[in-house]
């Protein structure tokens, strides 16, 4: 022993991790080589990646997915509270809503909204009246189709979040005189968010990708913008890669944002300090030894063979 106050400890070696890392890297190299030497014109990918038509499609995708998600969240909270209320009427209405909009494909719902003019040729909204064809633009049809469908799923997600909050929280809030609305808004929903946010992030990513279905009702989102180009120049694979690249970029940025949001809504819940993944990776893969502080060797405990 060289030092009386520290000890060197050799951590357990995880050879399996190194072997699996080698296999993964080899497979990845093969895949990269296949695509690099395959019949893909990478110059075209680069050229179209920032083309204004593609960026316009991307911004439409972002706008429709954000607005539809916002609509979905509002509907989800409202219908979840209705679904759980004692009032049999609101309860049944919420049940019906979930039954219909979760029970039919979103593609079908988009077509229904878009073709609503076939059923109701004219509309009278008191402040606005005219032809349905003018009102139900591809944008509005996409927003309603995606948002209302999302609302049905969000209802169940919010409901599971509400159910996850201990009943004692509601009782404590009632006991200090809070109304049912205040109990929900101040006590139950803020805690339910911890359960809701991870699933909601999943839903948003799903919605972002599902917004590509709005292509069928002529809404000019990212996928439709890419298609419009490859219908002309036949660079199908290249433009699909452009669209895929953008979807991945948006989802990646969103995932990071979600991580911070989760940490915020989980405040007061844990005191685990967060270690960045890169440091964690380096530490678990490359650590050769660990130095542990120990008390100075005690003469009584010291065993000398």
């Amino acid at each position: 022993m060289t030092d009386a106050t520290t000890e060197r400890i050799i951590p357990l070696r995880h050879w399996g991790r190194w072997i699996s890392a080698a296999i993964v890297l080899a497979l990845l190299a093969l895949l990269v080589r296949a695509f690099a030497t395959g019949d893909i014109d990478w110059a075209v990918v680069g050229q179209y990646f920032t083309k204004s038509a593609i960026l316009k499609g991307l911004s439409n995708t972002l706008i429709i997915s954000v607005l539809a998600m916002a609509l979905g969240i509002v509907l989800g909270v409202v219908f979840a509270v209705m679904r759980m209320s004692q009032n049999p009427v609101t309860n049944a209405v919420a049940g019906l809503y979930i039954w219909f909009f979760r029970g039919t494909p979103v593609l079908l719902q988009l077509l229904l909204w878009f073709n609503l003019a076939l059923v109701f040729p004219t509309v009278n909204l008191l402040f606005w009246q005219g032809d349905m064809v003018d009102l139900m633009t591809p944008f509005l049809a996409a927003l309603l189709g995606l948002g209302i469908n999302e609302g049905a799923y969000m209802t169940e997600i919010v409901r599971s979040g509400i159910l996850s909050v201990d009943r004692g929280q509601t009782e404590a809030a009632l006991s200090i005189g809070m109304s049912h609305t205040a109990v929900m808004g101040r006590v139950v929903l803020p805690q339910a968010l911890r359960v809701i946010i991870p699933t909601m992030g999943n839903e948003y990513i799903g919605l972002l990708k599902n917004s590509s279905m709005a292509a069928v009702i002529a809404f000019p989102e990212l996928l439709r913008a890419s298609q419009a180009i490859y219908f002309v120049n036949y660079k199908v694979m290249e433009l699909l890669i452009v669209a895929a690249g953008w979807y991945l970029i948006v989802v990646s940025i969103f995932t990071v944002g979600q991580m911070y949001l989760e940490r915020y809504v989980g405040r007061g819940q844990s005191h685990i300090t967060h270690v960045p993944w890169d440091r964690r990776f380096l530490r678990t893969m490359f650590r050769t030894h660990e130095v542990m502080p120990t008390p100075p060797a005690d003469e009584e405990e010291e065993e000398q063979p």
Binding site: E171, A172, I176, G177, V187, P190, Q191, G268
Partner: protein
């Protein structure tokens, strides 16, 4: 004229389906009195307590808090069920301390104490904050104001819960087994705060298994079993010289 009792129960009944939990409870608590409810699990003590602030609805009998019917109000000679709004107002007169504390985990200690007076009673913020700090001082947790409940021990959490209840300036405080979920070494600090409260003149109804606390702090001890009041009286009468066999059996089994 006799003063209106703070709590008056006349033949209070409550059942869940076919299971009758309270079979006619008659009790009276005068202002400033500390009443301890003892009894085996399932005897209906907690249910009775939860009827007082209308977390549970009574199925029969009459229950009054400070002369007002619980959950009911008289209008043009007829009894009406209270609306959500009236019920909220009614509940601000009492405050409850729970077995599992039920602090709001997403709010700081100070936030927990403030939320009632600030958001329910809409009292001015500066005044409420000053009072909250005083209350935290009183329960010995002045320096924990910015901590979250998860970072406190059970005993500290329960003392915060008492401060939260006191912040509403209730006429009547209800304690539902406040020390049952605590480690033995933490029970004392919570009981000390409660004893101090009782000495200061707060009207309290305490469901507890702490016979020692009942003996020291209670004005009246009530022994309940199977949904009825078996025996009620001063701690000396009920704890030292129980008349009923059921009370004697119970007391012989609980640690003193």
């Amino acid at each position: 004229m006799t003063p209106v009792p703070m709590l008056l129960a006349e033949g209070v009944r409550k059942s869940y389906g076919d299971n009758e939990v309270l079979c006619g409870i008659d009790l009276e608590v005068t202002s400033g009195e500390v009443m301890c409810l003892l009894g085996p699990s399932g005897s209906g003590k907690s249910t009775f307590l939860r009827c007082i602030n209308r977390l549970e609805r009574v199925d029969g009998g009459r229950l009054y808090v400070d002369g007002e019917r619980v959950g009911l109000h008289r209008h043009k000679g007829k009894l009406h069920e209270m609306t959500d709004r009236q019920l909220c107002h009614f509940r601000t007169q009492t405050a409850m301390v729970f077995q599992h504390f039920n602090l709001f985990p997403h709010m700081t200690v100070l936030g927990n104490v403030l939320v009632g007076p600030l958001k329910v009673k809409k009292e001015p913020k500066a005044e409420v904050v000053a009072r909250a700090h005083e209350l935290l001082e009183r329960v010995g947790l002045a320096e924990k104001a910015t901590a979250y409940p998860r970072q406190l021990s059970g005993g500290q959490q329960q003392r915060v819960a008492i401060a939260r209840a006191l912040a509403m300036r209730p006429k009547l405080m209800l304690f539902d087994e406040p020390t049952s979920a605590l480690d033995p070494e933490l029970v004392g600090e919570v009981l000390a705060v409660m004893k101090d409260l009782g000495d200061s003149g707060m009207t309290m109804v305490v469901v507890t298994h702490e016979v020692g606390f009942a003996r020291e702090a209670a004005d009246t001890v009530v022994f309940m079993d199977a949904g009825v009041v078996v025996e009620a009286g001063s701690p000396d009468q009920v704890l030292a010289n129980p008349k009923h066999e059921r009370t004697q059996t119970f007391l012989s089994k609980v640690p003193i």
